[in-house]
Amino acid sequence: MTALLRSEAFDPWQELAHIESGLVKGAHGACASFVGTMRDFNVGDHVHSMSLEHYPEMTQQFLDKICAEATSRWDLIDCLIVHRYGEIKPGEPIVLTAAWSAHRAEAFDACRYLIEELKARAPFWKKETTDTGERWVHDAPGE
């Protein structure tokens, strides 16, 4: 179980390859992963950049907690969360969640659980810079 907070841009595929290099070969049959990337448009406006504020110690504790919850709820071999904070440019990954298991159902369900819990409760706040200035993002329900 690994939950990482990153102030610099990260390559999600390298992160996944790195975790897999530490797993026993032939033990897992399934890996589900999700990458959330910064788009350059939102609510109809062109977004130039984004600043992602967080509550550092609480964020780390929260991400560790949902990794532990996923591991106790599904039969996982490993799971991973990587999340950016600070200044982010369009096209850069914001978040990566992944789960390794013997079977695909557990891997998918756990991977989805991680991103849904993170999105619903992890203390991050986005501020976008658009053509018309800065604004705090308020997610629409179900977005």
Binding site: V95, K119, A122, P123, W125, K126, W136
Partner: protein, 79 residues
């Protein structure tokens, strides 16, 4: 009681506060620390709070040395 109070994101901009230490009576609730820290400003609807980095309720009791945080709905993750 010495209570550290933190404000995040839009709530920090609205209150003009980032981090402040207040001297609260004992007993006191999370809501009491908001009033003390902000000088009784109106609390925006949907404000979330945490005691020692764990989600809490406004009427939860606090203890000496606690870190209380107030913040707007979270928007991490992705689309």
């Amino acid at each position: 009681m010495q209570i550290k109070v933190k404000f995040f994101a839009s709530l920090s901009e609205q209150t003009g506060l980032a981090e402040i230490t207040v001297d609260a009576d004992n007993p006191a609730t999370v809501l009491d620390t908001w009033k003390l820290a902000t000088g009784d400003q109106t609390m925006p609807v949907n404000t979330l709070c945490a005691i020692n980095m764990v989600y809490a309720h406004l009427d939860d009791n606090i203890s000496d040395g606690d870190e209380i945080a107030f913040f707007p709905p979270v928007t991490g993750g992705c689309a």
